[in-house]
């Protein structure tokens, strides 16, 4: 019985807080202007250098993915993808890690800066393209999407919450303790990560962001690059595809 009451109580807090603290248009404008001078731009440049100096740059990326220079932007806009070479649906970060291993270079963890900034740079190559992840491209993508949807909707953890509990139209006011709770499609989540997180003063990938949310909602944190985490990214990215969002990296987030 207790498990049922908790989410309800939380819903009420969420519902009443929302309207009082909705961002004014003037405030929204100020935050939008900040995008023009995003510290992340410097990190994206650094990511470009890192890719060039340590992995052979875009050419090496094209070779690894077996894609031409012309095809690369649209191809990147379709991540996470099923990569035959790796026999798995993977994110850009995992492709970079695989390149490190293939070239006999030191493999950096998915949580470390080199991979994060390179991921941001690589995804920025798809800027101005529509998010074009294809969940029906093959059976692996379909399976990943289905798994992602299950995880998104699964109630788990001490608070009896699922991602959907807070991030859905059913929640009035869409704000949790005065912070906006994005509805992933409309908010263009799949198109604006990796992003600079103001509260962390760091670049973060979408999966790293998921981990933060899981910690706070008392869910077991899923490992970066795990089948489940990639599935969740596939599901969320597809929401932005449905809303025809255009890729704009780096993002700027709270």
């Amino acid at each position: 019985m207790r498990k049922l009451l908790l989410p309800l109580a939380l819903m009420l807090t969420v519902a009443t807080a929302g309207e009082q603290f909705a961002m004014s248009d003037a405030d929204k404008k100020m935050y939008e202007e900040m995008q023009e001078n995003n510290p992340a731009d410097i990190f994206v440049d650094a990511g470009s250098e890192e890719l060039e100096d340590n992995l052979g740059g875009e050419e090496a990326l094209q070779n690894f993915l077996n894609v031409s220079e012309k095809e690369l932007p649209k191809y990147i806009a379709g991540f996470p993808r099923y990569i035959t070479k790796l026999d798995n649906v993977v994110g850009i970060d995992q492709v970079l890690q695989a390149m490190q291993v293939e070239q006999g270079k030191k493999r950096t963890s998915l949580n470390e800066e080199p991979i994060t900034i390179m991921s941001a740079y690589v995804k920025s190559l798809a800027n101005d393209e529509l998010v074009n992840i294809d969940i029906n491209e093959n059976k692996e993508m379909k399976a990943s999407y289905d798994l992602g949807k299950i995880i998104y909707e699964k109630v788990r953890g001490k608070r009896g919450l699922s991602c959907k509990s807070c991030h859905s139209k059913a929640v009035k006011g869409l704000s949790l303790r005065t912070q906006t709770l994005p509805r992933f499609g409309e908010a263009g989540t799949g198109a604006t990560w990796p992003a600079y997180r103001m509260t962390k003063s760091k670049m973060r990938t979408i999966q790293q962001r998921f981990q933060g949310c899981m910690e706070d909602s008392i869910h077991t944190v899923l490992p970066l690059g795990s089948k489940e985490m990639v599935a969740l990214e596939v599901y969320i990215t597809n929401e932005s595809k449905n809303e025809k969002k255009i890729i704009a990296i780096p993002g700027l987030k709270r």
Binding site: E36, N37, P39, D41, I42, D45, A46, S201
Partner: protein
């Protein structure tokens, strides 16, 4: 020798003529530690480390100086206006409380 800090100087709009007033934006990667926060893992105070002086010059002639304090955000941003007098270079020289000296420039290329 001071470590090479990453920074950016931007001029807006991108196209301008001599006599136009442009916006000069400067962003730099710097922790701007106040000296009041504790490291979450060690529990020790993180030493104050913040940019304390900035000078904007055009071809070596300063046109704006700033005294900066700890309350400015990490990876800070500063923006001012400037009247373009001709072709040249805007240089931003900055120092921090630990004595680090750094510099970042941007060429000024007016259309006419």
């Amino acid at each position: 020798m001071a470590e090479k800090r990453k920074a950016m100087v931007k001029i807006k709009p991108k196209k301008f003529k001599v006599g136009d007033t442009v916006k000069v934006d400067f962003i730099v990667i710097h922790p701007m530690d106040t000296g009041m926060a504790k490291d979450k893992e060690t529990g020790k105070i993180i030493e104050a480390h913040y940019i304390d002086n900035i000078t904007f010059s055009f071809d070596g002639k300063p046109f704006t100086t700033m005294k900066v304090w700890e309350s400015v955000s990490t990876n800070p941003y500063f923006s001012i206006k400037y009247k373009v007098t001709g072709k040249g270079k805007i240089t931003v020289d900055y120092t921090d409380n630990k004595g680090e000296k750094n510099s970042k420039s941007k060429k000024v290329k007016p259309k006419a």
